[in-house]
Amino acid sequence: MTVSNNGTLNSRVPDGNLQDKWDNHKNNLRLVNPANKRKFTVLVVGTGLAGASAAASLAELGYNVKAFTILDSPRRSHSIAAQGGINAAKNYPNDGDTIWRLFHDTIKGGDYRSREANVYRLAQVSNSIIDQCVAQGVPFAREYGGLLDNRSFGGAQVSRTFYARGQTGQQLLLGAYSAMMRQVATGKIQMFPRREMLDLVKVDGKAKGIVTRNLTTGEIERYAGDAVLLCTGGYGNVYYLSTMAKNCNATAIWRCYKRGAQFGNPSFTQIHPTCIPVSGKYQSKLTLMSESLRNDGRVWVPMKKGDNRPPNEIPEEDRDYYLERRYPSFGNLAPRDVSSRSAKYVCDEGRGVGKSGLAVYMDFADSIKRLGADVIRARYGNLFAMYEKITAENPYEVPMRIFPAVHFTMGGLWVDYNLSSNIPGLYVLGEANFADHGGNRLGASALMQGLADGYFVIPYTLSDYLAENLHSEKIGTDHEAFDKAEKETTDRISKLLNVKGKKTVLDFHRELGDLMWDNVGMSRNRENLESVIKKISELREEFWKDVNIPGENNTLNKYLEYALRVADYMELGELMARDALDREESCGGHFREEHQTEDGEAVRDDENFSNVSSWEYKGEDKEPEKHVEDLNFEFVTPTQRSYK
């Protein structure tokens, strides 16, 4: 039971001083002895940073792990695309960083909508992550003396970000993957690539297994386990265009939601300020230009509306470096939500650049003058090359054009301090949970969170649950709960294949994406949210009547996979809009036009919304029920965020 007597969710945050909570908690968690570990099977769904680190660590401890991924290999996942870096409170540059400061920046960056204890723990284990990765052979950037190099990132005034050129996510993931492959070789991890989890199996209220589709053969498969770890990433693709990899999806978390797991803060979406702008209808995804570029790039638009001169011909006095102007102390490093909204404002004023007018400049001319092109190339060479490949423009010579894009979802399945959802035995790690980033995620903190969850939190907290369940009955895949889940899954697939309508899945996804971007995007208001809820449900109805899915079930069929995911987005999108409507305040990435100051800054309402909204599924055609978890700030005092 997670709903406690006073009607709020129980976060199971341990008592005591902030600094001592995690250590005390570890002292009190039950252990499983080595001989008994062998008796447990843990199903790890998803092998991004969170899943790979969890699978490897649990297998090293002696548990039997079965790991699943949609892709053809655990060496790939969305995590691989992370460019900028990973935070840790090492204080190697001696610039005054501490665990407290990393904690404080992260909770403030999240606009005080996350749990103190979780965020503090994240900062505490951050240093061990760097140690672990270096030992695995992750080639972080180093200085000539042979020691690790750091850089600064948005929302922080210290240099605490570790990086591996512009490919930090790749290198961290390959590190975790190699740790996994070592366990595959020992037989402790059994790897199931090209598998998609389509349902959760519950027995007596506990998570006991999953149902997957083998994406090569179409076969529906059953796997039983003593616990299920969802590490399936974020759901930004609800918006159709985003910086997420094409296979990112919400299916695993959404199916668990429909089996009773609560969904925390679904509307909290991060719109990243520096992405390459949309170029046409055929566009299939958006590309991020790492925020680390804002260390050396200056963001501006023309002072006057309709100034169509090429950027290099616009003199200084006709340029508006609007971030430096509005936020003098953070300037170009203002946090993501603030920067994105500022870009939207200047474009709404008609001062946007490029063909569509939906872009601003990020200019490196000053840095190149100051440091030389070689230094800039060493820092960002691969990003500049990527930009040039996509746009056919050379950013060493003309400023980049950038615009905000959907990038990360802070919302996700609700979890307690142990990373357990409200369904016992179902744990949620990485971007898939709602936990650590509140209303807005700071740069370089998702990699940190995914690896913290997988390497350093779940090995402890899972043992507590398993120890408690040492003597519970083992469930086989012949249990009737598996029959039921499998049947529901095959029925859903046949129903979809039998629609045989006229519109493609892509048509529907684009339409949903437009609705979401226009109404549940950077700026939200009651009227639009109310109407979009209706529109999404109409679109959903149309989808089930008119979608055209080619081919059959019993082969590789990516459009069928895609259709199943879009079907889930059609439901999740509505929940996101509902949550955005319900939260009558502006906080982090959630900006409600009704709640702003005269000069357009967000107005938070701590009186009524210093809490997590956690939604419970009540059945088809019924409205979901909202539960709240109050956020009690014992150690920091929420202040209005100011980056001025």
């Binding site: 490897a56 660590s57 090293e60 892709l71 053809d72 290999s73 060496r75 790939r76 969305h78 691989i80 695309a81 090492k90 190697y92 061990s128 760097i130 140690d131 672990q132 990765c133 030992a135 695995q136 052979g137 992750v138 080639p139 972080f140 950037a141 180093r142 200085e143 000539y144 042979g146 690790l148 591996a164 050129r165 490919q167 790749q170 290198q171 390959l174 190699s178 740790a179 492959m181 070592r182 070789a185 990899a245 094409k246 296979n247 055929y282 299939s284 990527m386 490949k389 996509i390 056919a392 350093f456 090995p459 892509l506 055209n548 080619p550 081919g551 082969t555 590789l556 069929n557 459009y559």
Partner: protein, 248 residues
């Protein structure tokens, strides 16, 4: 612009495949190659035909999923570019492009342009790691690594595991892929204690998977989107011989 495509269609590994002709007359030069395939698929589905299957995920050249041979070149005609980063502006109106899958014994066919590259995972499982358990390591700065070696290790670590090197090699050798991982770890002090065992096991596994030997054609280096240098293969050989001579 108009583009003529000849695309390899194959139902599964038991059914023979063939090239099928398609013409698209509304290709936008700013489309990526994969976006053009999406466009084609939309059209095929609207005509009630089966779309072309191909692997992809990040569409930014980093995950290594995409794998197409265009007019005989793995990842297409441009250096250091995965096929997902190739834009149609690089082609001319009226061009014909033959699109084929990776072809290698060790990469069995799944469907159309999709093949099974799990042999790479088995090579990695044979030794592509440093044996360190979670929680065991010392402080990250305890062992300094000179910048030269750290940067070299990175250059080799940049491999995206796409398999183009195999597809381009007349012998279907996986030497560039395997050499890259061995070289990365051989340039780091952390990898040192296991380097002999690692190289022997990985090289043996590569042979067991059915990849061919390297005879220095260097086709792999030419197509590699991550610009992995063939010095990695030389390094792998040296490591292998050193390991064998000491083990014997």
């Amino acid at each position: 612009m108009t583009i003529h495509l000849k695309i390899w269609r194959q139902k599964d590994s038991n059914t023979p495949g063939r090239l099928v002709d398609y013409t698209l007359d509304d290709v936008n030069p700013d489309m990526s190659f994969l976006e053009m395939l999406d466009w084609l698929n939309e059209r095929l589905m609207n005509e009630g035909k089966e779309p072309v299957e191909f692997d992809h995920d990040c569409r930014e050249g980093i995950c290594g999923s995409c794998n197409l041979v265009l007019n005989g070149m793995a990842h297409g005609p441009y250096e250091a570019t995965a096929v997902c980063q190739l834009h149609m502006r690089k082609y001319k109106d009226g061009d014909t492009i033959v699109v084929e899958p990776w072809r290698a014994k060790a990469f069995p066919m799944i469907k159309d342009l999709v093949v099974d590259r799990s042999a790479f995972d088995r090579i990695m499982a044979a030794g592509g790691y440093i044996s360190v358990n979670t929680g065991a390591p010392a402080d990250a700065n305890a062992i300094p690594v000179d910048k030269y070696n750290a940067d070299l290790a990175f250059d080799y670590a940049a491999c995206i595991g796409c398999g183009a090197c195999v597809a381009a090699c007349p012998n279907s050798s996986a030497s560039l892929f395997t050499g890259a991982k061995i070289s990365q770890l051989a340039h780091l002090p952390q990898g040192n204690p296991e380097r002999k065992r690692r190289v022997v096991r990985m090289v043996d596994q590569m042979a067991e998977e059915g990849f061919g030997d390297c005879s220095n054609y260097a086709e792999c280096e030419a197509v590699c989107p991550a610009e992995i240098s063939i010095t990695s293969i030389a390094k792998m050989r040296r490591e292998y011989f050193n390991a064998l001579s000491e083990i014997e």
